[in-house]
Symmetry: none
Subunit: 199 residues, 4 copies
């Protein structure tokens, strides 16, 4: 279930470098977007360009690794809330925290977007991981009556991606988040479909 599928475990220093590169890539892509150059990543990591390519043989694979790492961290965070007392607060709190992080990190948005699209299998293993963890949070919040019953984990992830994007690129603030939270919450009089038609 770990990320690397390498034959033998990497040497300690190699592992350290891999981590340095990954961290640098995360920073660089977060700030400059995914079109930042691999040279920039190497520079920030303090390693030679060859080292970057030794660990991640294409830029694509580096990007993928960054996304996977992000998604894994989010999934862990979600799993940590799995048995929180207030299921509703856990769900909405997680959602808000992810969005607030996007204010700085473009990569979060992209990671979420990729994770939501199954066709593009870049985020391969990690996407489902997050979706599953989020699913648990969602199910508990629904059972507790805090979230409407007719929303799927996939829909929540799409909302998450959209909100992150809106926050980071279109200047969305808590007002916007509140609207979405209200849309998600169960406290509403009307049965499904009674609201404004979504087509």
């Amino acid at each position: 279930m770990t990320t690397s599928a390498s034959r033998r475990p990497l040497r300690a220093d190699a592992l350290r470098n891999r981590a340095k590169v990954l961290a640098a890539a995360e920073e660089v892509f977060a700030v400059q977007g995914t079109s930042a150059s691999t040279d920039e990543v190497a520079r920030r990591a303090g390693v030679g360009i060859g080292t970057v390519f030794r660990h991640f043989p294409t830029k694509e694979s580096l990007l993928e690794a960054v996304l996977v790492a992000l998604l894994e961290r989010l999934a862990e965070e979600a799993e940590g809330l799995r048995s929180a007392d207030d299921a509703g607060a856990a769900f909405f709190g997680f959602f808000a925290r992810v969005v607030s992080r996007a204010k700085v990190k473009q990569a979060v948005t992209e990671a979420l977007a990729e994770a939501g699209v199954d066709a593009h299998d870049r985020a391969g293993t990690a996407g489902p991981g997050l979706k599953a963890a989020l699913g648990v949070l969602l199910a508990r919040a629904q059972a507790a009556g805090a979230v409407r019953a007719d929303v799927s984990a996939g829909e929540v992830m799409a909302l998450l991606a959209g909100l992150c994007y809106a926050t980071e690129r279109a200047g969305a603030d808590e007002g916007v988040l509140r609207v979405v939270f209200d849309g998600l919450s169960a406290r509403r009089a009307d049965p499904r479909g009674a609201g404004p038609s979504a087509t």
Copy 2:
């Protein structure tokens, strides 16, 4: 109503070329994303690359012009609904139509995002234009009791951008749109702030 403040009025054929380039750019960027090459735009427009750069001295400025044109069209569309009978339907219908268009046009998303960020003055004149037109739609829908009173036009634009992004990149569908519509609609028991906290 025109965007450019050029010194002398363009000759007829120059104007025609400018329009051809703009149309081609819109198509190309919509399909291939904004990283498509200017050569590709020139080819599609059937003009030389020099002509593209004569009218839009940098790629950035070409991109900006495309976004502005998009926003102007959206603003016009919104203005056309200004005196619709059902103010709620007008508002939600406009929203849904914009989002559905994003399924094909990557540029729409970006245009909306840019328009929402005042700091970035790329979309200069056109952003406010759309915001104003949308504001009218919103105010009427709020007056008619179809949309909650505590949302601003800026927030709606951010939501629009987020939804477009979610639709185009994260596979969002009508389920997601419905959630947002419910969040926006006025039919809810609780006064502001009673829902899940957005911080």
Copy 3:
């Protein structure tokens, strides 16, 4: 029947540059071998690297153009001898002249080798051109009784390539050429197959 298949004829200066690049490539590849860099070619031609790639979109295509040009020149030379008085002298003289040129130009060897291999169609149109011209020379020399009848133009081209290689890389001299000429000449007592078996 010309080399370029471009839509419209190149401008005069573009043609000039194309020629400069081609000439530079020929020199560079002749001296340093085909693994010389395209940057080197650009430098020698006195143009920017972009110009090289505008005319020859890959290194492969540049190489091909160089080979084609070489083969075309050889073919022209062969055609010029088509109606020489002494058919034998024409044939052997052409052969010797080509080989002597290889002393300086690695590319000649490679061009001939490529031309001889039909599978590899790099030298596409030009290879057959040379083979045909050489075929005429050969047929006339055979008719004149100067060259044995059981050799084909393809075999002569392979010999030519081999001799060029031997000359340029293995220090072959006229002694070696003489042996091959004797092998090719008709003045021999034995009918085919009476010599040392070639298997």
Copy 4:
């Protein structure tokens, strides 16, 4: 008989590794040409890249060692024919066998070419070794009246290199070999120089 003049004798396992690397290099260069990477050689040998460079400090030296090994084997083969009954058959058979091997092994050609050029001292000791062995075969064949008297061992080696090249790169077949054999054979009416002039 060994090539290296290293300070202290290698340990048994080191020797074994050296041999493994050499064998792998031979295979790799034979199949992929001399531009194959040293990493590939290490992989094929089943050793680390560091080991390759410990034994052969540059790629150039590895290449040289491969060529030397090839030439040594050819020399041994030639020596084995030193006292064959039919001196002519021995000579021509050896020649044909070497050429036929070139069909698969690019390196053979290069080895022969290098061996023929004294200036380039890469094949240092081994080149002369082959030339000497070949010289014996040649002298005996000449004494037996099977090969013309006015050819030197060096010329034969150049011919060998050229034929290998022609075979491997220009599609030469037995027809070509036959021509050369006829040129080399003694059964000809004319004294030296009566044939077509080689200049």
